[in-house]
Amino acid sequence: MLSSPTVRTSLIFVAVALIGLLFADIAITASNPWRDLGNFFLGVVTPNFFSSEGLMTALLRTVAFAFVGVALGSVCGFLLSLVYRFLPVRVFCAVIRAIHELFWALIFLQFFGFHPLTGVLAIAIPYSGIFAKVYSEILDETDPEPGRLLPPGTGTIAAFLYTRIPDCWVQLRTYTAYRLECGLRSSAILGFVGLPTLGFYLESSFSQGLYSDAGAMLILFYVLIATMPLWVKPKLLPVYILGAPFFLGEGLPIVWGNVERFFTEDIVPSPLRNGEGLAGLIPWLNDLMINEAMPGIWNTVILTQIALVATGILTSLAFPLISNHFGGPVRRTSGHVFLVIARSTPEYILAYILLQLWGPSMLPAVVALALHNGGIIGHLIGRQTNGIRLRPDAPTGFNRYSWELVPRVYRSFLAFLFYRWEIIMRETAILGILGIYTLGFYVDSAIQNIRFDRAMVLILITALLNIGVDILGRYIRRKLALQTMPTC
């Protein structure tokens, strides 16, 4: 078994995570975590839908921001995907998607303030980068044969529209619809930094211990996502996209002078701004690297590696819940409900809830990341096992799980995990805003102290770290010959 490269790679990652655990800060610091958790679940089963008149507006805004952001992102992403073969475009896209929506929102908040544009761009920019990459991958897979059959002199655009697009239309559509679901999650969490979406109210009611109010918001959010197939219809899309901009709320007017100030003053490193020149810049950077960037990177990497392995463990436990090869319809239905809830809840919200209940440490973050990502991968793997036909006399129970199914799905299991590695890291960094000492903590501190020069350097470091992990993940996937279709 050890001779198999996939097993060896897995064991290396498990070993790294175990070593990480030695350094990680894992603890439950709340004195009565189970009582709080109980209160929270009590709140979820006794939801109060009439707590705030703002609740329905918040839900509407969440949908509106998602639609406008994702629509803008998909159009820009599509245009970028056409020129994706050029290296500068690829690098540009890698950088914009390596910066999390919340970081984008925090940046735009500094000069657009509470204007709808802040939320729209915070979603549209990173999504453009993701769309560009995935659309170009999908376009590359199309069959070149129809194009060769065209008569000479056919226009490039006509040829593209009539030979390439029809071939991959279904994939493009499926993927875009999937991103819309992600967009709803992104839109919801933007509320945590002050935009008028669901997160705004969720944070308020949670921090005040109003669990019934928070429960109502979570339930509405799940219903919104679970019923997407019912209300997101191709024919209705133009109506939604045209209508959405009108429901973003007014916000406050933009003062354009702030934009210029942000780029020409705020983000210029303070030694340069104060005319100390390069001589002042070196100690400034040194201080930033040693006191903030290094500890931030260390904690981000450790937490990412532990969360990645935890996600793997949770996935392997979760996929049988929805697999046809085990249990009856009742178990499968409850399995589906569990996985839908796990993957519909943004990691950020899960981590926020668990941090409130268990107190600050890396543990809530690990559990949140594992639940969300394990929910997604578990769902995909579970569905994949449903396509596997076993012999009638195949073993049952645990033997069926370990000797029949796991070996058959293990490669795609690893492929999905390595695909989500970078996503997990991006989320890990952002969870710092909640008070875990990853890079996001230092970015947030810099912003709280109105030091945007420091914040920008730290955000760039976070982006580089993500790009590095993305490259490594792709290298490992290629080395092990793992293939996967893009997920979230």
Binding site: T29, A30, S31, N32, D36, V68, A71, L72, V75, F78, L79, L109, Q110, F111, G113, F114, H115, P116, L117, V120, F192, V193, G194, F200, E203, S204, S207, Q208, G209, P238, I241, L242, G243, P245, F246, L248, E250, G251, L252, P253, I254, V255, N258, S270, G359, P360, G435, D444, S445, I447, Q448, N449, I450, R451
Partner: protein
């Protein structure tokens, strides 16, 4: 199809943004989110109604999620008036030349931070912080918000000054609860053993019977320092008419609605000036929060 989509989007977003800028002449203010949001919204809606009546313009309060967001909104001229803490006020006035502290609460001249501890730690209250060194060392500790004066700046200053160490080296775990009410709840629940908060929040919650005094108690009170104040931008007269700043100041100083004052809680507002907050600026520079 794609082009069509862009065109539609651009047209509709244009409508949306012009609609937003039409309401520009509203006088907007904000406040640092130092307590539970429901309380803040209730309190500042009352202030907005009061100011609107006194000043005869539309006045709107917008809630924000962080101290920095309040400072940024003020700096970006999206709000023209703000109820800041000592530190956020200093930050804001540095960033907006011409802005002025116009009024403070009666209690803000001599504000205090209370250090509180969960009773399970067995720590007894003391006159001097230095007497608590043995008791506090290695405990878990929470500040309020990262940008708070009473919840972060002053307690951090005294921890460094008296114990000669960074908080993260002196305590076993240091957190930022987010606001004063959260600090109180977290120490009461034992999630953190020790915390530091705004003394007004403590006294008000105590008077309202919201504190389990068997679970949490005050162990040290800081010496007094200046804190909260109303700060207004220097350019409001150009926008809202001559003498607008004086009228706002006047209105705040004359506020005598007991219920509203109670919600702050302050017994009234008195004049303030930028110079009143020099000690805060020096302290912030000393511990490296301000450049």
């Amino acid at each position: 199809m794609a082009l069509n989509l862009i065109r539609k989007l651009m047209v509709s977003s244009l409508f949306c943004f012009t609609a937003a800028s039409a309401s520009a002449e509203t006088f907007v203010f904000t406040a640092i989110p130092d307590e539970d949001e429901t309380k803040l919204v209730e309190r500042f809606k009352g202030v907005a109604d009061y100011l609107s009546k006194e000043l005869d313009v539309d006045v709107r309060y917008i809630p924000v999620k962080s101290y920095a967001a309040a400072v940024s909104a003020f700096r970006n001229n999206q709000v023209q008036l703000a109820w800041f803490g000592g530190l956020s006020g200093v930050q804001a006035r540095r960033l907006v030349p011409g802005s002025e502290a116009i009024a403070q609460g009666v209690e803000d001249e001599a504000f205090q931070t209370y250090f509180i501890a969960n009773t399970s730690t067995g720590i007894e209250s003391a006159e001097e912080l230095s007497a608590l060194e043995e008791d506090l060392k290695g405990k878990t500790f929470t500040f309020g918000s990262k940008g708070s004066t009473s919840g972060r700046l002053m307690p951090e200053f005294y921890i460094r000054d008296v114990f000669g160490a960074q908080p993260e080296d002196f305590f076993s775990r240091v957190g930022f609860s987010g606001n004063h009410t959260r600090t109180l709840r977290l120490v009461e629940a034992g999630t953190y053993q020790v915390g530091a908060l705004n003394f007004q929040v403590w006294q008000k919650e105590l008077a309202d019977g919201n504190i389990d005094t068997d679970a949490v108690q005050v162990i040290w009170e800081t010496p007094p320092y200046p804190d909260y104040q109303w700060t207004i931008r220097g350019d409001v007269n150009e926008r809202f008419g001559d003498g607008f700043k004086d009228r706002v100041t006047e209105a705040l100083l004359n506020l005598d609605d007991q219920a509203l004052l109670e919600s702050f809680p302050r017994s009234g507002f008195i004049p303030a000036s930028n110079d009143d907050y020099e000690p805060i600026r020096k302290t912030a520079e000393e511990i490296g929060i301000l450049d």
